[in-house]
Symmetry: C2
Subunit: 253 residues, 2 copies
DNA sequence: CGTAACTTTGAGACGTATCAATTCTTGTGG
DNA sequence: CCACAAGAATTGATACGTCTCAAAGTTACG
């Protein structure tokens, strides 16, 4: 059984065969399918289960009083949707799917137990949380001090890197079901402006984007345009596992 | 001994006398003073100690390649500066003081031990981390979908609330050593624009700001201008502890 | 094969940045 | 206690990035 959760955490630490088996059985215990545009967990809701995205694509978002949507993060397979639910009374945002997806459900009591162990699994869970914090901080830098072009380039490049480390692709092409409206809600622009920027990226030979597939034709230039540095992802073991992801300077792709 | 760390965590959970004593002794073990504008922990650095801010004011920030600074969060007494350091190899951002400050230092091995317990202290530490995530997400909403006026109002109002729950004030006036340049670096504006907005807030009778003191003269209007809702702070026990912080509708002043 | 969702295009308005100059504060040493 | 320096706040005029709103294409899908 493929286990994107374990694959993701192995960017940080090494698991024994026994630990891998345990992670597999945790995921197998209880699963659920979702359609596109469905909430995995609603804003203000509580649940006794944490959800781990297994397949599909989801996002964290909030709906503002005036009806506008802000996407705060995209979730790819292996990501934990609602780590907070085992400790907080209710969600302060929603997690919803963008495409049809499946999740594994882990009971909060099991999650609590896992976190209390002196094991690589517990450490990896902490690492995941700390990395989430890093990703959010990077997004704040994006929106505070980078212009629309850099912001969009950064988002596209980050998605490429995250798909590569999750093992979903080995090339520079990724499945990309995110609409321009979604991109606009994530970067704080209007869809029109996203559209015009994407056209420029295409004209400049940086990307191709059609048929729900994004191909980064010039990754080095896209990375430098985005001022991307992978430090905030804390991929301590990626180099050892997959040297191909790195270029000669030791930088990701 | 005053213990802002314990006070903050008591917004979430109740401690026994023994737990309070333990928290006191953890803070007393090793402390350090910092001058204004000094790094508590530098970008890329590693340390064997976590720092908890005891007095003063600090911020998380990053310096971009072009020299610009983005402030990602302000830290008030009781806040944990670098929770990630016990699990990650190095910081992906810096934490620096804005005013002269003191911190308590807790060895990472002690921190790890605390987190593994089945105790209210461990739960409160998790709560703090989850709340930090919430604050960052709220800042992303701010910068993505609110205009400069709302953004600045939101920041000012959040600082008032955080000072009130930390016990630093019982009125609507707080010590405010944050310069307009700092505010600009936190909200992603220019100092000039911050200045013009603050003038408007003053003209509109929302705030007074002079002599490093911020007085919110019309908290209700400032809150509604900011579209502020305290949900993301997860102050589960605040109402029980300090009903005065709430207005009649049950919303945080 | 029709319809809804998504993408593309255009022209004008507006919010915020820029950059430079001035005034006000604050802290410091004579 | 005053004078000065350095930092912080304020002001102004202009430029530009991005939004707005509306309409026309295009694509995906039941």
């Amino acid at each position: 059984m493929s286990n994107p959760w374990a694959t993701k955490m192995e960017q940080f630490t090494a698991f024994t065969a026994g630990e891998r088996e345990r992670l597999d059985s945790l995921l197998a215990f209880k699963q659920r399918g979702f359609e596109a545009q469905e909430d995995i967990i609603a804003d203000g809701a509580h649940s006794d289960y944490c959800h781990i995205l297994l397949t599909g694509l989801a996002c964290r978002y909030k709906i503002l009083p005036d009806g506008e949507r802000q996407i705060m993060a995209f979730l790819v397979p292996g990501d934990l949707c609602d780590a907070e639910i085992f400790i907080l009374k209710k969600m302060d945002h929603a997690v919803g799917t963008l495409t049809a997806s499946t999740t594994a459900m882990i009971h909060s009591s099991v999650m609590k137990m896992l976190l209390r162990e002196a094991s690589p699994i517990a450490e990896a869970l902490w690492w995941g949380t700390m990395t989430d914090l890093g990703v959010l901080r990077e997004r704040i830098v994006d929106q505070g001090r980078r212009d629309a072009t850099e912001r969009l380039a950064h988002l596209l490049y980050e998605m490429l890197v995250r798909y590569r480390i999750s093992g979903a692709t080995k090339t520079n092409a990724i499945d990309f079901p995110i609409t321009q409206t979604d991109l606009a809600d994530a970067t704080g622009m209007t869809p029109s402006h996203v559209n015009r920027l994407l056209q420029r990226f295409r004209e400049d030979g940086l990307i191709e984007l059609r048929n729900r597939t994004l191909t980064v034709t010039n990754p080095l230039r896209l990375r430098s345009l985005a001022q991307f540095s992978a430090t905030y992802l804390h991929l301590d073991r990626t180099e050892a596992r997959d040297p191909a992801v790195y270029d000669r300077a030791g930088e990701l792709i």
